[in-house]
């Protein structure tokens, strides 16, 4: 049997032959990176988990078409990104009610009040949490391709060529997307970058 330089591709070929243990191994390995990517696109934990589950079900369903010519992770993240894009498009066609929407009679209050369980946190944690929220918000405001290109950079194993394949752009266009996205982030997070608050609170 031929050996595969990508161990995940070898696992995927086992999935192709109906090996559910190999599939479980792949899910276990990639659930967190996929969930991170999906969550930062949808910004809803429940929906993100459902969609992440669909990503893996899609992988299982398409296993018979899988060719070990590319890295498994590239293929996986391409599926994840496509499903995220579909969901983002679906949301734009059928926008849900915003939690921040106000009733005409009570314009100064949000439409719905949800209990916040995060109370009495130590000061450092609050600072760190606030900073995380700012970074998450700044990421969410980026155009989809820039956001995903930057997020995929966090996946150590993906090369720029593979990120370009997932995004569906040329290598130079992908680097340009990352550069522009990072410049926007730097502008938006300037007060925090300069204050160095993140250094004190970073784990």
């Amino acid at each position: 049997m031929a050996t595969h330089p990508d161990p995940d591709a070898a696992l995927m070929l086992r999935v192709k032959r109906g090996d559910d243990a190999a599939f479980a191994e792949l899910v276990e390995k990639y659930k967190q990176p996929v969930m991170n990517l999906v969550y930062r696109n949808l910004r809803d934990a429940t929906e993100a988990e459902d969609l992440a589950q669909n990503v893996f079900v899609q992988v299982h369903k398409s296993a018979h078409r899988y060719q070990a010519t590319a890295r498994f992770s590239t293929w996986l993240f391409t599926i994840a990104r496509n499903l995220c894009l579909n969901e983002i498009r679906r949301r734009s066609r059928h926008p849900a009610d915003s939690l921040d929407a106000t009733y005409p009679d009570h314009e100064d209050q949000p439409a719905r009040q949800f209990e916040d369980h995060k109370t009495f946190l130590p000061t450092e944690t609050i600072l760190h949490s606030e900073l995380e929220q700012k970074v998450e918000a700044a990421l969410a405001e980026l155009p989809e391709a820039q956001r995903n290109a930057i997020l995929l950079c966090r996946q150590d194993e993906l090369s720029y060529e593979e990120i370009a394949e997932v995004i569906g752009c040329s290598l130079s266009a992908t680097k340009s997307l990352i550069h522009r996205g990072r410049e926007t982030l730097k502008q938006k997070l300037k007060p925090y970058l300069r204050s160095g608050e993140w250094k004190k609170t970073a784990k």
Binding site: D20, V27, N36, K203
Partner: protein
């Protein structure tokens, strides 16, 4: 290190932590190029911020739920393909499709022909009614000259001549 190599290191830092030799080369470049220091500082700070983004929470039973969902989906797919197997594999795809198409075309033609027959019969019935009405309403004496008049018409058609007014007959009728 030149500007291009600095840019390459910068791009590498977006993806991963720089190695010790890379860090050393970078520091040498930065000390020789103070203007690049500010740029590098903001790059490094953003890198660290992005690296410290917390992981999204995943349910503890995520893997088992996914495997179960995938197995269910595969089972339903198998059932669907087994259901279609006799029709779509043994006979072939084109046979049922051609049969359905032929049946549809035959049905349309049959309906059209029946409609045509019906309209012909209705027209025939209307003509019979009109003729019956005409015959019953007319005086039999009026019909005594029917045959000569009909023959005159036939004779004119045979010669293909323009009909000429029978002035004598008109005078007599007056």
């Amino acid at each position: 290190m030149n500007e291009q190599e600095y840019q390459q290191l910068r791009e590498q830092s977006w993806r991963r932590r720089l190695t010790q030799p890379e860090e050393t080369i970078l520091q040498e470049y930065l000390s020789a190029n103070p203007r690049a220091q500010e740029d590098w500082l903001s790059e490094a700070e953003l890198n660290q911020l992005l690296q410290h983004l917390p992981d999204a929470s995943v349910s503890s039973n995520f893997t088992s739920r996914v495997v179960q969902a995938a197995q269910l989906e595969a089972a339903s797919r198998q059932r669907a393909s087994a259901w279609n197997w006799p029709a779509w594999m043994s006979i072939g795809n084109w046979v049922p499709r051609t049969a359905v198409a032929t049946l549809a075309v035959g049905l349309v033609l049959s309906l059209g022909y029946n409609q045509h027959q019906k309209s012909v019969r209705e027209q025939f019935a209307r003509n019979v009614v009109q003729l019956t009405d005409a015959v019953s309403a007319s005086d039999p004496e009026l019909m005594q000259d029917f045959e000569p008049i009909r023959q005159m018409g036939e004779a004119q058609t045979k010669t293909e001549a323009q009909p000429k007014a029978d002035l004598e007959l008109i005078a007599l009728m007056k």
